[in-house]
């Protein structure tokens, strides 16, 4: 594996550095080359050999190139990209379903890449849970048994895992379906089982690989709400893979955009919408409803107070506009979560920001 791995760091170390049991994930200079002899071509790729050259001349496929992402503990990190961008490859590195060619990967204090097979199994059992695009439910097990699967692998006592599973089945809204088999459920219900199965594991890291992509738009939006609701109380570190920008903006505390195995831009949704790094991303975001993404904190004029209603700094522009038109006012005071005024925002600011700039539309 890579030279830059730190062999001294034990696979398992002390308690997590972040309070509340949440774990941050840190990916450093991760490379993945697919092919019979990846190590041989690593140096050339690190020096900038193109994906095309690697494939056509050397017969290897570049999966990921120099990925470095810091995923905050207790937040939702979205990794977005079109098919073939390497996003599903990336998420599989976090629980090492795929071995990297080079790089480092830390989950809290745990050096994931230094783990022995045994330590890795324990890491997967206790620290991570995963939800899959195609659900990957076990067709020979009932909803109840599927949900218990993670705990069963951990040899948890029957009664205990039954209770835990029943709680999560109810929480995702499938009470009454415990004895159904996955094939008897609709796609949306199946993915609820997938979510319940992952949550029953009670792991600090939740990996969601295009978890909602196979669902109808309505059901997808439902599931997003379910996830956001749950996240409010769970505060897990969620890595969410998607190819859908709306979904990325709705769920992601932070978003990383992947293209051809490289990170093109990362930041908050707002940062990406307001300052797209290049044409590729501009073309991505041109149809986004900016009023639902940009928060009024970004647009306010600091320090000025006006005669008008108070709005939370975290509100998106659309909601501020709704408040203003309901009150019949032209401007609002922006306050922090404790009600302390931070600045103000006017209706014309809102309208200007909600319309995409001309230059962007041209691209």
């Amino acid at each position: 594996m890579a030279d830059n791995l730190n062999p001294a760091s034990a696979a398992k170390a002390g308690p997590d550095s972040v309070p509340g049991n949440a774990v941050n994930i840190s990916i450093k200079h991760l490379y993945k080359i697919f092919g019979p002899n990846p190590a041989q071509h690593l140096a050339a790729v690190q020096q900038g050999m193109s994906k095309q050259e690697l494939r056509d001349v050397h017969g290897h496929v570049l999966g990921l190139r120099d990925i470095s992402i810091d995923m905050p503990a207790g937040g939702i990190q979205v990794v977005m990209g079109l098919s073939g961008s390497g996003k599903s490859t990336l998420i599989r590195h976090i629980n090492r379903l795929i071995e990297p060619t080079a790089g480092e990967l830390w989950a809290g204090e745990h050096n994931v890449l230094a783990m022995s097979p045994r330590a890795l199994r324990h890491f997967r059992r206790e620290r991570t849970a995963m939800v899959f695009q195609n659900f990957a439910l076990f067709p020979h097990l009932t909803v109840q048994q599927n949900t218990e699967y993670g705990l069963q692998v951990q040899h948890v006592k029957h009664k205990k895992r039954q209770e835990a599973a029943a709680r999560w089945i109810e929480r995702v809204g499938l009470k009454g379906y415990e004895d159904s088999y996955p094939n008897q459920l609709s796609g949306g219900m199946q993915q609820r089982v997938g979510l319940a199965r992952a949550l029953t594991n009670d792991a600090p890291i939740l990996l969601m690989d295009e978890a909602f992509s196979a669902l109808d738009p309505m059901i997808r939006s439902d599931m997003q709400s379910v996830l956001l609701d749950l996240q409010q109380e769970l505060g897990k570190t969620i890595v969410f893979i998607t190819h859908d920008l709306e979904e990325a903006l709705r769920l992601g505390d932070r978003i990383a955009i992947l293209r051809d195995g490289e990170v093109v831009q990362q930041g908050t949704g707002q940062q990406i919408v307001l300052k797209p790094a290049d044409d590729y991303i501009s073309s991505f975001i041109k149809d986004v409803n900016r009023g639902r993404v940009i928060r009024c904190r970004t647009l306010m004029t600091p320090g000025v107070t006006v005669d008008g209603p108070s709005v939370d700094a975290g509100l998106v522009l659309e909601e501020v506009a709704r408040v203003l038109s309901a009150e019949g006012k032209d401007a609002a005071n922006v306050t922090n979560s404790r009600g302390k005024p931070l600045g103000s925002i006017t209706m014309s600011d809102l309208i200007a920001a909600m319309v995409p700039p001309k230059a962007e539309e041209a691209t």
Binding site: R121, H122, R124, R125, M130, A136, N183, L207
Partner: protein
Amino acid sequence: MRTLAEFPTLGTEQLSQLRRFIDGGFRSFSREYGETLERLFDPLREFLIFSERLMTQSPWPVVIGAIALIAWLASRSWKITLGTVLTLLAIGYFGMWIDTMKTISMIFVCTVVALALGLPIGIAMSRWDRLQRAINPVLDVMQTMPSFVYLIPVVMLLGIGRVAGMIAVVVYAIPPVIRFTNLGIRLVSKDLLEAADAFGASMWQKMFKVQLPLALPTIMAGINQTIMLSLAMVVIASMIGVQGLGQPVLKAIANQYFTMGMFNGLAIVGIAIIFDRVSQTYGKRLQKHLEVVHG
């Protein structure tokens, strides 16, 4: 031109020398080790005799009741259970009870042995591609070699009787269970294995909780085939002293007793149908959860 009309062969002299050399070698091998091998198979002989006694010496209503119960538990179909009971009653009424019991006992033991050997081999084959490549041609030989041919070395080694017959039957009947076990495990979707991996399942947890249960319907199809093949072979094995329905069939062929041949042949058909329907419906019941109820 004459050289093309006649195939170039080894001389008669060399051929018979070759034959004598191989036969002689095998004969001295069986003289040397035959007894040791026979003793090695003693537990199996005991098992065969025990199971045969159990079937032939238990009161017939108990035996019919037990078989009917098994048929019911496996198929959950009263039609199949009733058919089983009626078939057995008819067989008994026509005086073939003891022979039929001997045949059923033989098939039972042969199937158990075939499964005990075949399942682990099939599982191992599914794990290692190289093993699969090595075993597949062996299975091809076992299935295509005329069964009479491998009766010869078995009889030379172990003499005539139950054990030799059982080995011949198992050799003939084991390939399907091996092949289907291997196939069934290999057909389990990669996505499910990935999910099991993601939850930290060990190799054994994957095998016993995911791969084998999902392969079970396929494996059941293999077991069904194995039972059918051992039934077919039990008749042929009667030529080397296996008792049961094969014996009267053999006698009927030798003496041209048409009715005797027919009756015993029909009894074989009867138990074949019982075995087939029961094991098939059991296999189908295992697949119930795979049916898509919701569109």
